[in-house]
């Protein structure tokens, strides 16, 4: 007994130390970012980064929040795009996946192929752009920013696999014999067991929308419709470009903070997610693991 106690205590201690080191390794980079965001730019250039801010200043945050309405607007747009894109996307993806999972659907192979095909061959950037800008005429609208990403082929295939795995054919058949139509089967038989699948696909979808900057960059004609990531990304790019532009044009570049602003921006962009994460984490984790076992 004694020996066992010792060994388990030793094991626990080692576990504690190892996990502490591991979690420190995860947290430290973020600490550096936060501390850097409170350090003056000159300090960073001359002495590099440090764990605790030297020459504490909130100058970088002042730059970002000089016009708080802009960043709030960007946050608002991000919630809007993520909300509408995830909700609508989830509905379309699930319904599509259900249809192509049914054996009695005659063209399911053709439809699956058409969906799958787009994951291998794409039209390329220019036709894609022309499609939304000239054919659909969506340039400058918010639709152009959330619409193109509604359905991801990979997620449709993932969802189809979920449905096939979670709902045995026999169950659907017996429901059919009892007189249920497709709507009833979908709502009352399939959907109730699809929780983990919905969580996983919804998570992917939401992360994709939250982190997107490219469509804002391509299709926005006003900063009012920018997503948060693009707002922040463009702030970084303009400080950089203004310096380069000085080569061609007489622009004043002496007052642009860079390093510290970039760091402060990372904090602002990730902050809310970090605060939110512990509360939704268990749904995420259970969604992914349950899905993994079943799928």
């Amino acid at each position: 007994m004694k020996i066992k106690d010792h060994s388990s205590r030793g094991f626990n201690a080692m576990k504690g130390v190892l996990l502490t080191i591991l979690s420190l390794l995860c947290v430290l980079p973020f600490v550096v970012i936060v501390s850097g965001s409170f350090t003056s730019n000159i300090e960073i250039i001359t002495n590099g980064f440090s764990l605790l801010p030297r020459g504490f200043t909130v100058e970088a945050y002042k730059t970002i929040f000089k016009t708080p309405e802009d960043i709030l607007q960007a946050y608002k747009m991000n919630f809007y795009y993520t909300g509408i894109g995830t909700a609508l996307g989830l509905v379309i993806i699930t319904l599509t996946a259900y249809v192509i999972s049914r054996k009695e659907f005659k063209y399911r192979n053709t439809v699956s192929f058409l969906i799958y095909f787009t994951t291998i061959f794409g039209g390329g950037m220019i036709p894609w752009y022309l499609m939304y800008a000239n054919v659909l005429n969506l340039r400058g609208t918010t639709l152009a920013i959330w619409f193109p990403a509604l359905v991801t082929p990979f997620l449709v295939i993932l969802m189809r696999t979920f449905i096939v795995g979670a709902v045995p054919d026999a169950v659907v058949e017996s429901a059919k014999i009892d007189g249920a139509g497709h709507w009833r089967i979908f709502w009352q038989i399939v959907l109730p067991v699809l929780g983990p699948g919905l969580a996983t696909v919804g998570l992917f979808q939401a992360l994709g929308y939250w982190n997107d900057w490219y469509r804002s960059s391509m299709f926005s004609t006003s900063s009012q419709t920018w997503s948060l990531q693009f707002y922040l990304y463009d702030l970084v790019n303009s400080t950089q470009a203004m310096r380069q532009m000085a080569q061609y044009a007489n622009v004043n570049t002496s007052d642009l903070p860079t390093q510290s602003v970039k760091l402060a921006m990372s904090v602002v962009a990730t902050g809310p997610i970090l605060i939110l994460y512990p509360f939704v984490q268990r749904y995420f984790v259970s969604g992914i693991t349950v899905g993994a076992v079943k799928g």
């Binding site: 220019i126 900063s223 463009d234 790019n237 470009a241 203004m242 000085a246 080569q247 004043n252 002496s254």
Partner: protein, 506 residues
């Protein structure tokens, strides 16, 4: 990629050309024009646009809406705008491939329009300026009318030079003496911070130190032509070989001796670009990518943070005698071929560039709200919702109307000095090199291979970070030949010869 782009362009343009050719501009129809410009929108975009449009609506029954590329992916978006016919008027510049886009058919030929609707503007531009904007004989853009010198040079610490009684860093020898003098007096002081900011992408040099070549040679292109070619400013059509010459090996040895003396870090090849080192005193000179404007920026920064420091600037052209203003196509305005209202575009462009009140409104916003002029006539910003040249319309600058800022006095003094020197060259104040655009579609594969070799072998040579220069030079020459240098050179020289002939630079 380029081919695909030109094809897409041609397709879109054919379709749209058909539509406007038949519709002569009917002034009774309101024209809502899009003016595509670079950079980010000012906060007060709508306010200033409203003021502009109030006038344009009455005079031309038209409105303009400035649309902005932002600074993210701006090259891609600029091309997208061209192929999607997303604008009527557009900012053009040699660094945005003005020449290539013009030959691809993106822009409308302007000669007739200018005669009919822009006579005043035509006179203001002058034949010389317009000629520099011609591509294969046709005019595709109206240049900005503000002669600007972006002459490369060395930005250095005049206070340290005077303190240690060192020579002015004019020639390469004097630059070396200047750096060595500071190093001897204060060994802890950082000297240069050259970096490898994708120098090879222009296919001219491998590392930033090679900007110094502009201080040694009186070349037509400041630090050499692509693919290791060179030509003297006085005889631009007479192209010769630099990479395989003894001069090249000599220069590499000089760079090595500087690197060995510790002028820059041993890790310079992988260091990231640090624009702020000089302003913060971590370097005592900048030799790459400098221009008079950057000197003014540093001088302002010193005045604010380190009043006892002094920044000074010597253009390399002052040493070689080759100095010229920015090319006319550095900032210009074109009309998209797809525009439904080309006549109205020209009328409005003519109006903005010849009417002082309108020009100031577009460039500086509303007087009294966004800016004011002080007793000496200097511009002072009142509201950063619309900064100086808030729409980034450097293409609409007109010398006569341009409002001066206090810092412009020093800048103008530099420009005046360079203009005087430039007037004494064989081609008085003519920028030959920047009017040329290379079309490398036919040899893009070889070009990419040459660029790779330059990154791998030329960069360490020009950074002086090889142990045996002669061996490294030989290795570089062998590798770059294998990569397909000849094909690139042939293609380039053919185009360059045509260009020199077209503009009579013989």
């Amino acid at each position: 990629m380029k081919k695909l782009l030109s094809f897409a362009l041609a397709l879109v343009l054919c379709l749209s050309a058909a539509s406007w050719a038949f519709a002569a501009d009917d002034m009774s129809e309101e024209a809502n024009l899009v003016f595509y410009v670079m950079g980010d929108a000012p906060k007060d975009e709508a306010v200033v646009e409203e003021a502009i449009n109030a006038v344009l609506k009455e005079k031309f029954n038209a409105t303009i809406d400035f649309q902005f590329s932002t600074w993210t992916d701006f090259n891609q978006k600029y091309n997208n705008t061209l192929i999607s016919a997303g604008a009527d008027l557009i900012y053009v510049a040699n660094w945005e491939n003005y020449g290539l886009n013009a030959t691809s058919g993106a822009f409308l030929e302007l000669d007739e329009l200018l005669d009919t609707y822009g006579a005043e503007l035509k006179e203001l531009c002058g034949e010389g300026n317009l000629n520099m904007c011609r591509v294969n004989g046709d005019l595709y853009c109206i240049p900005a009318l503000w002669p600007e010198y972006v002459s490369l040079g060395i930005k250095y610490r005049e206070d340290l030079r005077a303190k240690y009684d060192l020579p002015y860093p004019t020639t390469l020898e004097n630059i070396e003496a200047y750096l060595n003098g500071i190093k001897a007096a204060d060994p802890s002081q950082g000297l240069l911070r050259p970096t490898n900011t994708e120098s090879a992408s222009s296919l001219i040099i491998g590392f930033d130190t090679a900007y110094l070549l502009a201080d040694k040679y009186a070349w037509v292109a400041p630090f050499g032509m692509p693919y290791g070619l060179a030509a003297d400013y006085d005889t631009p059509a007479d192209v010769y070989d630099y990479w395989f010459s003894d001069d090249f090996a000599e220069d590499c040895k000089l760079f090595k001796s500087w690197a060995d003396q510790g002028f820059w870090s041993k890790s310079a090849l992988s260091d990231t670009n640090d624009n702020e080192a000089y302003d913060n005193g971590l370097a005592v000179a900048e030799v790459a990518g400098m221009n008079p404007n950057k000197q003014i920026s540093s001088a302002n920064s010193f005045a604010k943070d380190h009043p006892d420091w002094e920044s000074a600037y010597i253009a390399y052209g002052e040493n070689t005698g080759v100095i010229y203003p920015g090319h006319a196509t550095q900032n210009g305005t074109a009309i998209l071929r797809s525009s439904k209202y080309p006549e109205r575009c020209m009328m409005i462009l003519n109006y903005i560039m010849t009417d002082e009140a309108m020009n100031c409104l577009v460039q500086y916003g509303i007087e009294g709200k966004h800016y004011e002029l002080d007793a000496d006539g200097f511009y002072h910003n009142l509201d950063d919702s619309f900064a100086y040249e808030g729409f980034n319309t450097w293409n609409l600058r007109v010398n006569e109307f341009k409002l001066k800022q206090p810092t412009d006095v020093a800048l103008q003094a530099m420009f005046d000095k360079y203009a005087e020197l430039g007037a004494q060259t064989k081609w008085p104040n003519i920028n030959i090199w920047d009017g040329f655009t290379e079309d490398y579609t036919d040899y893009s594969a070889e070009r990419a291979a040459v660029a790779n070799v330059m990154r791998q072998y030329l960069a360490p040579l020009q950074a002086g970070l090889v142990s045996d220069v002669d061996a490294a030079v030989e290795e570089f020459r062998a590798k770059v030949t294998d990569a397909g240098l000849e094909a690139c050179r042939e293609g380039f020289q053919e185009q360059w010869a045509d260009y020199c002939e077209e503009y009579n630079y013989q």
